[in-house]
Amino acid sequence: MIGALSASVVKHGWRSVRSGGLPFFFAVLMTALGMFSLTAFGTVLWNFRALARAVGESVAAVAFLKVDDAAAAEETRARIQLTPGVESATLMTPEEALQRARRGLSGSAALQASAGLTMPWVVEVVPRFSLEDGESARLELVQRIGALDGVDEVLHPGGELKRIDALLRLLHGAGLFLAVLIVLVVVVVVSNAVRLTVLVRKDEIAIQKLVGASDAFVALPLLLSGVVQGTLGAVIALVTSGIAHASLARVVRVALSGALGTFTLDPLPWWILACVIVGGALLGAVGALLSVARFLRTSS
C-alpha cells in the first residue's frame, strides 16, 4: 500500500516536473545561481577564517616580570602558563630579551641609544586562539596576566587582531545577509513555479479529488517537484563552484603567496557541501509547501 502509493507519488511527481515547463527551469536556474553565490562566498569566508587563525596564533603577548632571580621568574612563568586561555608561556632571561629587542631595532642610532638598556625577565605568552572569542577575550586575558604576582606589565600588539576581528565580523554579517536574501529568493521562485504547475495541472488535480484522492496524494507529487527543483539547483551550483574553484585556486595561490607565506584556497569541507544540497532540497520543499498549502486551503 505505502509502496504503491509512493510509486504513484513519483509517477505524478514526474508529471508535475514535466508540466513545470519554463518556470521550472527558471526556478532551478535561480536556485543554482543563489546557491553558487553562497558557496563562493562561503569558500572565501572559510579560507579567510583559516588565515585569521594563523595570524591570530602567531601574535604573542609579552609579559615583563618584576622578579630578581631565575627561580622566581620560573615560578611566575608557571603561573602564567596555568592561566586559562594561555596556549604556551616561554621564559626569556634578561640577556635573551635584550638580544631580541636589539634585533627588533634597526638603524645604528637606535642601536646606540639602546647601549645602556637593561631588560627584566620576560615571558612570551601565546594565547589560545579562538575566532569566536575575538578581540575582547584577548584583552581580558592580557589584564588577567597583568594582575598576577610578579608581573610588571604586559605588552600586546592588538592592532592587527582588531582589524582581523572587524573584517571577520563584517564578512559574517554580509554572509548572513546574503544567505537570508538567497533563501527568500529561492523560496519565492520555487513557490511560484509550483503554483504555475498547479495551474497547469488544475484539471488533473480536480479529477484526482473527484475520484477520492487524499490531500497527501495531491500534495506529495507537487512537493516532490519542489524538492527536485531545489536539489537540482544546489547540485548545479556545487558542480559550477567546483569547476570555478579548480580554475581559480592556482591563480589565487600564485597571487597571494609570498606576502602571507603559502596561501592556498581550500575547498569547503564535504559536510558544508552536503548541507548545501540538503538546504536546496529543503528550500524547494518549503517553497512548494507554501503554494500547495494555499491551494489545498482554497480547493474542496
Binding site: 484539471d203 473527484l210 477520492g212
Partner: protein
C-alpha cells in the same frame, strides 16, 4: 444506502432554490432514474451525493454517514466508494485511456499490477480493449462516454452516479451504455441515473424519481418485477 431529509440547496446569488425540501430514501441495489426538465436540479442532487456541494439545509446520509459532518479525509474516503459518470466526462484528453481509468485506483494505493489488471478487465467489459493506449483526445464521443463509465466501474463502487450518461449518444449507443449500467446493478451496485431522455424511463426494475423546479414531483417505485424476471431492455 442513501437518505435525504428535507434537503434544500440554494446557490449563492440564485433567486430560487435548486433543490427544495427533498425527501428521498434509496435502498441498497436500487436502480433509480432521476428525471426532470433542464434546470430541475438533477445534477445538483448528484453533486450533493458525492460531496461536490454541501446542502444548504437538511441532511444527506450516505452509507450511514452524514455528509455535512465528514472531514476532508473522510470525504476523500467516501468518494472512493462512489463511481461518478459526469455529464462532461471529466477525462484528461492528453492521457491514455488506461491512465485515465488507472487514476481512480491509484488514489486508493493499489499496486501497479493490480491497477493494470483491473483496468484491462473493465476495458474489456466496456468493449474498449483495442483503445487501451490511445489518448482520450483520439476517441469519439461515445467511446469517451464508455471510458468515463469504465473509470466509475473500475473501483467496484457501492454507488454509481451517472449524469446524463446517454446525453449525446444515438439510440443504439445509448442502449449499450444502459446495458453497462444494468450489468453493474445486477452485481449489486446502487445506480442513480439523471436524465431527461424519456426513452430511459420505461422498462425493467427501475424506480423513476421526477424532479420539477427542485421538488420531487413524482416517485414511482420499481415495477413489481420478480428478481428472476430480468427484462432490462433499455428503450
Amino acid at each position: 444506502m442513501i437518505e435525504l431529509y428535507h434537503v434544500g440547496k440554494v446557490y449563492p446569488g440564485a433567486d430560487r432554490p435548486a433543490l427544495d425540501d427533498v425527501n428521498l430514501s434509496i435502498g441498497k441495489s436500487e436502480f433509480i432514474i432521476l428525471a426532470g426538465a433542464s434546470g430541475a436540479g438533477k445534477s445538483t442532487l448528484l453533486r450533493l451525493l458525492f460531496c461536490a456541494e454541501q446542502a444548504s439545509s437538511g441532511q444527506v446520509i450516505l452509507q450511514g454517514k452524514n455528509l455535512a459532518r465528514l472531514s476532508r479525509h473522510e470525504m476523500a474516503k467516501a468518494r472512493r466508494s462512489i463511481g461518478v459518470v459526469f455529464q462532461d466526462f471529466k477525462l484528461l484528453p492528453a492521457l491514455s485511456v488506461l491512465d485515465n481509468i488507472a487514476l481512480a485506483l491509484e488514489v486508493q494505493g493499489l499496486s501497479r499490477d493490480d491497477v493494470v489488471r483491473r483496468c484491462l478487465k473493465v476495458l474489456n467489459e466496456v468493449g474498449l480493449s483495442h483503445k487501451t493506449h490511445q489518448p482520450i483526445a483520439a476517441l469519439s464521443g461515445g467511446e469517451q462516454q464508455r471510458v468515463a463509465i469504465a473509470r466509475a466501474l473500475v473501483v467496484e463502487p457501492a454507488v454509481l452516479l451517472c449524469d446524463e450518461p446517454t446525453g449525446n449518444l444515438d439510440a443504439e449507443r445509448a442502449r449499450e451504455v444502459m446495458e453497462l449500467l444494468i450489468t453493474a446493478h445486477v452485481r449489486g451496485t446502487t445506480v442513480v441515473v439523471a436524465t431527461h431522455d424519456p426513452a430511459l424511463l420505461s422498462g425493467g426494475r427501475r424506480r423513476v424519481v421526477a424532479l420539477d423546479q427542485g421538488r420531487i414531483a413524482h416517485d414511482a417505485p420499481a415495477a413489481a418485477a420478480r428478481r428472476s424476471d430480468q427484462r432490462f431492455d433499455a428503450a
